[in-house]
Symmetry: C2
Subunit: 106 residues, 2 copies
């Protein structure tokens, strides 16, 4: 049995809009990289490599979509990311686009 159309669509969205997917996760709850990977791989049947995520997180922070702070937890250092107002704007633009796409679908 081949993978369903929807599964493939989800995978393609995560490939192309990983930035937006990450922003949405972090918007819902501030998180560190490792947990983002676990969340994505658990919720969706998607492999998210840390070599793809960490550089992206760095870029999102550099571009002002995220803000990070190092927090130690049981001796382990975590880099917790929070969404910025610019990040929220991007997520909103994405949602607006989805809304319009669906409206024109009928």
């Amino acid at each position: 049995m081949s993978k369903s159309f929807k599964t493939r669509i989800v995978q393609r969205i995560y490939r192309t809009f990983l930035d937006v997917m990450v922003l949405k996760l972090v918007q819902n709850e501030p998180m560190w990289g490792y947990k983002i990977i676990k969340c994505v791989e658990e919720q969706r049947e998607i492999r998210l490599r840390h070599s793809a995520l960490y550089p992206l997180l760095g870029k999102l922070e550099k571009d002002g979509f995220l803000r990070s702070s190092r927090k130690a937890k049981n001796g382990r250092v975590r880099k917790i990311y929070n969404i910025t107002s610019k990040g929220i704007q991007l997520v909103n633009a994405y949602n607006e686009f989805l809304t319009e796409e669906l409206k024109s679908a009928h």
Copy 2:
């Protein structure tokens, strides 16, 4: 003034989901390649190269998402594409995903 977030989202969707965008257009009204390019470039502020579209149309037909028939109009030969039931399934999967994405956005 930099391009708005939404404009960029639309461009990214057309880059990655050009197959679905084409299927949606053809579903709405059977069309030939040249007209698809004109429609996309007119409706959205997007450059769609024929060197990207024609091979894609061939692949979509080969994979059973589209069916074509040559029609002569004023001596010019057009290859009119129609969506198949498999093509409709893919568009539906895309719309279902968008619906779910929006639901989980709140």
